[in-house]
Symmetry: C2
Subunit: 345 residues, 2 copies
């Protein structure tokens, strides 16, 4: 039996996760779910972000479905580093997978792009770089204060995520990988990324490649997002580029992501790219599509390809088949997509 750990989290997290579970119920009948209460309210109640015992329990699951964590009442970084990033690092989720599509029935902010024309995936390195937590402060609060942040990059970590990107690219129609870094300024890490990229590329003669500096890539994501197929990049660049990607494909409400441990040594984790949006929490207006698409990634990752595809198709049908002007609540959308999935399967 498939065991899924569910972390609703904060703000709209639990709401969208509830809808995602409706879809999962239909797509993966008989799975076993365990809810974990983690996030801002647990932190306020107990001071805990992620107790070791809970981490161990989570490790026994096949996958984790996450809503969103974060609340303005918690100092910046506490939940991010203590919970979200701790999970990514503890479970060695080194592939942060973020597909971007302009879905049928939707429109993004770009004038000259039509649904179907944008379809790429960002393979973001998930456990290295500036996210390593290496940094510090000296003379804090004084005029002599300095603060450092260090980006740590290994050949080991760089190669495995680049290889994952090439594997994915070789299964896609266009078979193209773009490596994004800032090799003209970050000469050490950039050189490691570019050299490793070139070496791995040699093992995939059928996959085309190019390299772009992150500033140029950010620009091209805005003025020709159609040109991308697979992008592989470091942790921080991936964070920024995937928010641009979400924006050009009609917004963060549709962007799903997976924090994947491709080795299967630990559970992978699936979550919408959006945050906890406390300003709209509890009103039934949050869009659960990103959480539902995260379920599709979860299913694919567990090898349930047919179910994964059904969820994607159901979302596409839902988005293109909507009646203009008809308001839909968070739970309406969950119900409708779940029904569509059950019709397909």
């Amino acid at each position: 039996m498939t065991r899924i750990a569910v972390i609703g989290g904060d703000g709209i997290g639990p709401e969208v996760t509830a809808e995602a579970r409706k879809v999962l119920d239909v797509a993966l009948p008989g799975y076993e779910a365990t809810e974990y209460d983690l996030g801002a309210s647990r932190y306020h109640a107990t001071g805990e972000t992620l107790p070791d015992s809970v981490l161990d329990e989570l490790d026994g699951h096949d996958a984790i479905l996450l809503g969103a964590v974060g609340d303005p009442s918690v100092p910046p970084g506490v939940l991010e580093r203590g919970l979200l990033l701790r999970l990514r690092f503890a479970f060695d989720q080194y592939v942060n997978l973020r597909p971007s599509r302009l879905w049928p029935g939707t429109s993004g902010p770009l004038a000259d792009v039509k649904p179907g024309e944008i379809d790429f995936v960002v393979v973001r390195e998930g456990v290295e770089g500036l996210y390593a937590g290496a940094g510090g402060s000296l003379h804090k609060g004084s005029s002599a204060e300095i603060a450092t942040e260090e980006s740590l990059n290994t050949r080991y970590g760089t190669e495995r995520v680049i290889r994952d990107a090439f594997e994915r690219a070789s299964r896609r129609d266009r078979r193209h990988v773009t490596c994004v870094h800032k090799a003209n300024v970050l000469v050490h890490a950039g050189d490691l990324w570019r050299r490793t990229f070139a070496e791995v590329a040699a093992d995939y003669p059928d996959v085309d490649t190019d390299y772009q500096h992150v500033d140029a890539a950010a620009m091209f994501l805005v003025n020709r997002p159609q040109s991308f197929d697979v992008i592989v990049t470091d942790n921080l660049f991936g964070d920024i580029l995937t928010d641009i990607a979400a924006a050009v494909t009609g917004g963060i409400g549709l962007a799903a992501s997976g924090c994947v441990n491709p080795d299967g040594a630990h559970p992978s984790m699936f979550e919408p790219v959006h945050g906890s949006a406390p300003d709209i929490a509890g009103q039934g207006v949050a869009d659960p599509i990103a959480a539902i698409l995260s379920v599709s990634l979860l299913l694919e990752n567990l090898g349930h390809n047919e179910a994964a595809t059904a969820v994607g198709t159901a979302v596409g049908d839902e988005l293109s088949g909507r009646t203009p002007g008809l308001p839909l609540s968070t739970s309406d959308i969950g119900d409708r997509v779940a029904t569509r999935v059950s019709d397909i399967l």
Copy 2:
């Protein structure tokens, strides 16, 4: 007499700089220009990127007008760090100023934005952060290789650029400053930035403020660029955000920048945001508008406000007054703007 050092540089750099000088000739009659031959060809001929003696000479000027540096024949980083960044650092150009406007007569890629609606400026820190050049490699080329890049941030450096942003905001209509960082992950540097921002803000009660994480800011630059007035951010974030800004305002061909030493201790430097674009060099097709707008920033920085405004107005007139379908060469555009400037002054 005003002494301007001119560095045409590589690729389209010399072409667009020649047009910028036509405009400068009209806007600032009688200035003295000295051309410096720096860039890829000097590097290939002599191995030099920026000899100390040249640096000293440049320091004696009132301002530097730069085209673009960089060529694929030179290893990544050599000219960037040896010439461009060396100038920024040696002359303590800690304010990297990048205005963004959607000009009349132009259209960007965004469907719902009209000329005039986008008008913000990014005040990018110019001499700290990940550009400090602190980093290294170990076991290079082996499977054990690691590479590091360190972001160095001082209270001194953070405060002065934030103060500059508030000064600029207090002279603008909307008087709003957005601080952009990634304080939820880069907790040390992010905390320094946010605390310093709050302290400086207290000195400017008439200026509104907010804070955004860089990934959110990147997204908002795409889906509501109209909302920004002044953005202050670190060196690398500023690099990425200003390319997005250029993209949403119709492209890199119109984006000007100034690397400013507000203390006046050293010359400030003005350059288009675009690079050397070797693929289109020598064909007379490069758009010199960004270089010409950099002249406007140069003039403003030297206190020639009337001339600076005239150049901006001339560019606006030129862009909105063009005959559709009429092809214009690089030098046509320079001639036309120069004529318009002389008509205005």
